[in-house]
């Protein structure tokens, strides 16, 4: 079976509640995202802008039979967002391990700043804050995964989570504020 058939089949099994299917799907999605991420950036680097298409969408198009039911799309997006979070976190941890002894406490995805006019994000601190949010409200943490790591729009997130876009917007704003405060709070004593 080719990869797309395999992933589509596994998504179907997940939809039917078969537990093992998830274990089989995780590495496939992880590998594909990782591979795609690297080629994506290699390809884009010399050119002007990043495509607005998020990586997860591209992985979806590549890995899943487009005739698969809509609910499979939701399962895929959720899995891919989680795996994307892991990929970035792995990178950050490895980076920190490599710089151990230096000032490498914070690992920022700063290489990208030329492209995005945005505050760098400390991935490891973010991960800790997200874990904390997950204990308070699992759905909100999941929403952050979908939005930030999965790159889904508000509408897409609403679709995957089965709620209204307005609910996503509200929930997103409080989750974001929570995470920002957690990270800032963790940063202050360290910086002194």
């Amino acid at each position: 079976m080719d990869e797309s058939g395999e992933v589509t089949r596994l998504l179907g099994e997940i939809g039917r509640g078969e537990k093992d299917a998830m274990n089989q799907l995780l590495p496939l999605v992880y590998d594909e995202l990782h591979r795609l991420a690297r080629s994506y950036f290699r390809r884009e680097r010399g050119e002007h802008t990043l495509q607005p298409t998020a990586l997860v969408h591209e992985a979806y198009i590549r890995l899943v039979d487009q005739r698969a039911p809509m609910e499979s799309r939701g399962h895929f997006m959720a899995v891919a967002a989680t795996q994307m979070r892991r990929i970035l976190l792995d990178y950050a941890r490895k980076h920190r391990a490599a710089r151990r002894g230096g000032d490498g406490q914070k690992v920022l995805l700063e290489d990208t700043m030329a492209i995005c006019e945005q505050q760098p994000v400390d991935m490891i601190a973010l991960d800790g804050a997200l874990e904390k949010l997950a204990t308070l409200d699992g759905k909100q943490a999941h929403l952050v995964e979908l939005r930030f790591f999965g790159g889904l729009s508000v509408e897409e997130t609403a679709e995957v989570m089965g709620v209204s876009p307005a609910t996503v917007k509200r929930s997103w704003s409080s989750a974001r504020a929570f995470l920002h405060r957690e990270i800032a709070g963790a940063r202050v004593p360290e910086g002194e």
Binding site: K19, D20, N23, Q24, L26, P27, V29, Y30, D31, H34, R35, A37, R38, Y40, F41, R45, L50, A54, L55, V56, Q83, M84, R85, R86, I87, L88, L89, D90, Y91, R93, K94, H95, A98, L109, E110, D111, T112, I115, C116, E117, Q118, Q119, V121, T135, L136, D137, F148, F149, G151, R170, S171, S173, S174, R176, A177, F178, L179, H180, R181, A184
Partner: protein, 567 residues
Amino acid sequence: MTSEQWARIREIFEGALERPAQDRAAYLRVLCAGDDEMRRDVEGLLASHDSSTDFLETPAVHLAQALASTGAHGEDGEYPAGYRLGPYQLERRIGRGGMGSVWLATRFDPEFNRKVAIKMVKRGMDSQEILRRFRMERQLLANLDHPNIAMLIDGGSTPEGLPYLVMEHVEGTPIDRYCEDRKLSITGRLKLFRAVCSAVQYAHQNLVVHRDIKTGNILVTAEGVPKLLDFGIAKLLRSDSSTLDLAQTRPEMRPMTLDYASPEQVRGEAITTATDIYSLGVLLYRMLTARMPYGLETRSQAALQHAIREKAPLPPSAVVLTDEDIAIPQATQKIDIAVLETRDKARKRLRRKLRGDLDMIVLKALRKEPHERYVSAEQFSEDIRRYLEGRPVIARMDTPGYRWGKFLRRNAVSVAAAVVIAAGLIGTAGVSRDRAQRSNVARLESERRGIESRRELMHTASNLGAAQLSSGDYSAAFASFNRALQIAQEFFDAESASGAKPTPDTMTALAENQARLGEVLLATGAKDAALPRFETARQRYLQAVQNGDTRSAVAKLDRMIEAARNK
């Protein structure tokens, strides 16, 4: 903060955002009346919100250009050589699979300059379930201490939090190659095999099932001590019993270990100690004959799976004489050629040695039904000892021939007819181009008094037909399948005459050979003649019903019929 408190804070915060900034203070005063702590929380969130308009708004993927440079940390985010993991320094990767990798490493300690093998789970494979199992099994493995088992030395976690195992690093040769390199006698091989059995028995007593016994996992040291690697690791690294794609421990191994898989593994059923017994049977088969039990079938995974579930393996003595007609698995080609050279002269003698007890011993371990195999690795090993001491083996008391004996006595007439048919078949076998197969048939002639030999003959004819079909010799293939079909028909008649319902095996044999005849006809372009064969085969399969595998055979046949119609 509790989740209830957070839910309340959230609600107030989200409500505040919907109000104009100048109204917020009043709003908070009302809703947080008397709870200053909560009010400060909400105010803090609002401040965070106002000072972080773009926080997390650009998806991480767009921030992740850094990923492009992860190559600095090794391919696919893995570790570079020289990387220090706990007290170990990675030297080089010695194996890699879908779920993890194995590294040769040295302990970072001047006192023990010891080489170890480190086995890691790959990122992405670390679901909670797998990590939980990994930790549990690590405990079990830590208790295994046997001279023929590579020891678990240590365990730890990578900076990413992935667990790894540190194993004794064994320098040695895969057991099958060792046997050939040293040109070990049959007795020498059997003794070596018994040492492997003792390791498996020991593990089973400690409630650990290996699940992945194969030649590549058994290395023989320079001192001649076999060491079983990866005990239980197969289970650790496998997410699902039906997935046979294991982490490879040695780069030269084929990625799939289906070759050693038992029928229950192929069917995705529960894995027990009987599974290891089966794999030991495949191992012994290979050590004695340098072949795999379903040599002919290894061309495609689907065919091999089918063979493992449905086909009776040829007895070891029957395959050592053949060569042209056995498809040699690519990855093992080298070994086989070497084996053929070293064996050529001794082949006949080897066949005599294998025939009888050793055939029966191997076949008993390879029974489709787990409960028909040896009950333990110890019993398996004991039976070999009995053979070595010239005593009767238990495998023989338990053969279909023995059980069929009673049936024979009850049905003397039909058996006589069957023998006549078998003799007639042997008479016409001369048309076969295949010298080896001829002597195989001759061997069967000498044993034709038992029903068992007819069954073997049927499978031999069918296997021969398959080889002929794939080499394009359609008329020979047709004749072979036709013979096999005649024998199946004889079984059917004999069983019907005894008043019992024909067994599913017989019905399946009828179906299978009809379908094969259909395939031959189709291959020659005789579609109109092929279709009725398929239809008949389908009826026979349906009569064989009972198990799910047969139904899948029916489904397969449906596809063949469909394809034939559209041709």
